[in-house]
């Protein structure tokens, strides 16, 4: 009996944790971000300094404070310790990890070492095998939270002693996600590729006007304006879809410098036509002709995204759809606005003529830069908030 009570008091501290089960601190997690591009991996691994201190001892002077110097002193040891516990494989082939910079970040529960690294798998990764055993031997409650980015898709996963080895199939992300990504890329491209916007706007500046007796007059109805716009946009869309497809399928290919220069020239011509309307009689024809050239430009962007043959149709359709959505988005802002102010003096002088002249200037600079491969005026665009 006495012995029992004695035992009892010995383990009392343990007993008492029973009344406070829920009051927990954030447990030990690390955050692993891996970005895959073909055979190359760029990674970042955030590991709590507290955990590293427990594992390999950072607080050299034992004053309960970890300084940057103490981390720097142990940088090699930290890398060696961490990367002995993380293995990346492309199928069965090990991708050697090369630690890069070590930085610091503060998460909600304290300071973390941020270890940036790269790994080269030589061949494009099909199946990424991640073997994660950090702290598995000293703290089985530790977890590694992985975020894996590839081709715009994101996967997350969690590593612990029970699931230390996990495989990720990178070859074929599900087609819907991929399709969505291409749509977004397409939209993004038309918004960011100022040359396409400027080309469209140049062609559409006169859409709210009609030419009579060598003079521009406000268009009498929205209907006639809309028909004009639809003709131009449809012609542009059909044309660039044709060349985008042909170029992506490698049926036709043109040197990108020529294509880029020609796109710039198309913008100049389209804007010039507003001032000297005799150049292009039917704007939809011009839209079609130059649309063929813009299609090659889109194709170059699409191939930069790193296409795989299996995803070709998804990419083509998705990207093209994104471009159209982006176009419609621009038009739905531009058209009602220009229609509303078409009768004003402001529209004709400031918008129509001055706008066209500015566009000619900018596109002219692009043309010179692209055709002669010089970067004379690139900075000009940086001054302009609109661009």
């Amino acid at each position: 009996m006495i012995q029992h009570i004695k035992n009892f008091c010995l383990v009392l501290a343990v007993f008492l944790c029973i009344h406070s089960p829920a009051y927990a601190h954030k447990p030990s997690d690390s955050y692993l971000v891996i970005g895959v591009n073909q055979g190359l991996i760029q990674g970042q691994w955030d590991i709590a300094l507290r955990d590293l201190d427990y594992a390999i001892g950072l607080d050299a002077d034992a004053n309960n404070a970890i300084t940057w110097q103490e981390v720097l002193n142990k940088q090699q040891d930290i890398n060696a310790y961490a990367f002995a516990r993380l293995q990346l494989k492309n199928g069965a082939d090990i991708c050697p990890i090369v630690p890069q910079k070590t930085l610091i970040d503060h998460h909600t529960d304290g300071a973390y070492a941020v270890i940036q690294f790269s790994a080269n798998c030589k061949d494009a990764i099909n199946t990424l095998n991640v073997h994660y055993t950090l702290f598995a031997d000293i703290d089985p409650s530790h977890r590694g939270l992985l975020r894996l980015d590839y081709k715009g898709a994101t996967k997350t996963s969690i590593f612990g002693p029970e699931n230390a080895l996990q495989s990720f199939l990178l070859g074929n992300p599900d087609w819907l996600t991929e399709f969505k990504n291409y749509v977004v890329e397409g939209m993004w491209h038309i918004w960011k590729g100022y040359d396409h916007i400027l080309f469209l706007i140049s062609l559409l500046l006169p859409a709210v006007l009609v030419r009579e007796a060598n003079k521009w007059h406000p268009s009498p109805s929205f209907k006639s304006t809309l028909i004009d716009v639809i003709k131009v946009v449809t012609a542009f869309t059909i044309a660039h879809s044709i060349t985008l497809t042909l170029a992506t399928l490698h049926v036709v290919s043109l040197p990108s410098r020529w294509v880029e220069a020609a796109i710039a020239a198309s913008v100049v011509v389209a804007a010039l036509n507003n001032i000297y309307p005799s150049i292009l009689k039917q704007r939809w024809m011009a839209a079609f002709a130059f649309g063929l050239i813009h299609g090659f430009g889109f194709a170059a962007v699409l191939s930069d995204l790193g296409l795989q043959n299996s995803a070709l149709i998804i990419a083509l359709v998705g990207f093209n759809l994104g471009v159209e959505i982006g176009q419609i988005g621009i038009l739905s802002i531009y058209l009602p606005f220009s229609y509303a102010i078409r009768k004003t003096f402001f529209y004709k002088t400031m918008f129509f003529y001055t706008g066209s002249i500015i566009i000619i200037g900018i596109a002219g600079i692009w043309f010179i830069e692209r055709a002669f491969n010089i970067a004379l005026f690139s900075r000009v665009t940086q001054w302009m908030p609109f661009f």
Binding site: H4, I5, N7, F8, C9, L12, V14, F15, L16, C17, I18, H19, S20, P21, A22, Y23, A24, H25, K26, P27, S28, Y31, G35, L49, R50, D53, Y54, D59, N64, A65, I66, T67, W68, Q69, V71, L72, K101, L103, I104, H107, T108, D109, G110, A111, V114, F135, I138, D139, P140, S141, R147, T154, I158, N181, E185, W188, H189, V301, D304, L305
Partner: protein, 390 residues
């Protein structure tokens, strides 16, 4: 380039708790992290035990000794890492179906601390079958059953302590259960008297009893007595996280958020205390509230990624009081209710149910309260208001 921008855009929408601002510290002497004082890493006792165990991982007496120390630290610092360290110390036996009794008891304690109640009960049953005089197993079992609101079984476990433990411990175990089970005033008086009569007692037992007395008094609406017990408990030794949380709740109820801010400003690493701190900041309309709410959001999303359910009580309260999302709060409170049924769990459930105007849920809680005869002025207050409103 386009690709990079696109990815970073996607990242903005991403919930992983990564603050995208790693930096290079400007000075080598910059202090990056303060370790808790007396942390396991720096204490000589831990270091020498770890060294012995590293050399001889199958040394069961050192392994259990180290595991106990870790579990104790997890209680003091409120840091679940130590439960992981304890588990690691017990690694050679951890996965055995029937490890030696000392390991079984510790495994049950760790499982209980991580809310794996049913697995813990299985281990405890095994211990008690082999050694019915294992006081620690009985009291851990009583605690789990009390959390699960299985009061009759919990009381039976306490009864076994009569011959095994000091009278104050047995009485505390028993009155704590009766207090939730139809005898609120009587059991409170009984524990109060026993505490006064007990004289010299271990400090941690004093804290335990005083915390329970404070909570009992508070449920009975004896605000002054409750405060006195809380203050007494806090002054005995460095208060543990449970006590700080309970006292903060009391202060928040009493509309004294400033005191909560002062009490908890250095304790925000502990999720439950960060929650109370953020609530106090919000009540005082502090500019810092938004930052702390964001931090909590990240903590909960990390916990959910991990699959942790330890935080559901807090998470429900967070959704209700700070995110103002009664539907989600109720959903989480219901999940929590399946696991645990302490007065604090009833409170979050009822608060969420009334905020979400879910009559069926309110009905469930009212019936449950009537069956177990839990008396709590906070719950009564909400139910009275609810009745008046409807």
């Amino acid at each position: 380039m386009l690709k990079n921008k696109l990815i970073s855009l996607l990242l903005l929408c991403w919930a992983l708790p990564l603050f995208a601002s790693p930096y290079l510290p400007s000075s080598p002497s910059e202090i990056l992290e303060n370790l808790p004082a007396n942390a396991a890493t720096s204490s000589k006792e831990f270091k020498s035990l770890r060294a012995i165990l590293n050399a001889d991982p199958n040394n069961i007496s050192v392994a259990t000794q180290l595991a106990k120390l870790y579990i104790e630290r997890s209680r003091i610092e409120g840091d679940p890492r130590y439960l992981g360290y304890a588990q690691a110390a017990l690694a050679p036996w951890w996965k055995l179906a029937s490890p030696p009794i000392p390991v079984l008891v510790l495994r049950a304690t760790i499982l209980q601390s991580t809310h794996h109640f049913d697995q813990s009960l299985v281990d405890l049953a095994q211990v008690l079958k082999l050694d019915s005089s294992n006081g620690q197993a009985w009291i851990t079992r009583a605690t789990i059953l009390q959390v699960q609101a299985k009061y009759a079984e919990a009381y039976q476990s306490c009864e076994h302590l009569y011959v095994l433990a000091p009278p104050l411990i047995t009485l505390t175990c028993a009155t704590n259960i009766h207090n939730l089970n139809g005898q609120a005033a009587k059991s409170y008086a009984k524990l109060k008297a026993a505490y006064v009569a007990s004289g010299e007692t271990d400090k941690s037992i004093q804290v335990w009893v005083l915390t329970l007395l404070a909570e009992m008094a508070n449920r009975l609406g004896e605000v002054k007595a409750a405060e006195q017990y809380f203050k007494q408990a806090i002054n005995i030794e460095d208060p543990d996280s449970y006590l700080l949380g309970a006292y903060s709740d009391f202060l928040l109820d009493q509309k004294r958020p400033q005191e909560v801010i002062a009490l908890l400003s250095t304790k925000t690493r502990i999720d439950a205390l960060l929650l109370r701190y953020a609530e106090a900041l919000q009540v005082t309309q502090s500019a810092e509230a938004a930052t702390q709410i964001e931090a909590l959001k990240l903590r909960f999303s990390a916990a959910m990624l991990r699959g942790d359910t330890v935080h559901q009580r807090e998470q429900s309260r967070f959704e209700l009081r700070l995110m103002k999302n009664p539907a989600k709060a109720l959903q989480i409170a219901k999940l929590n209710w399946v696991v645990q049924k302490e007065p604090a769990d009833v409170l979050v459930y009822l608060e969420a149910a009334t905020a979400a105007k879910d009559q069926a849920a309110i009905q469930t809680i009212t019936q449950w309260l009537a069956t177990v005869r839990l008396e709590d002025v906070a719950l009564t207050h909400i139910l009275t208001q609810e009745k008046r409103a409807s």
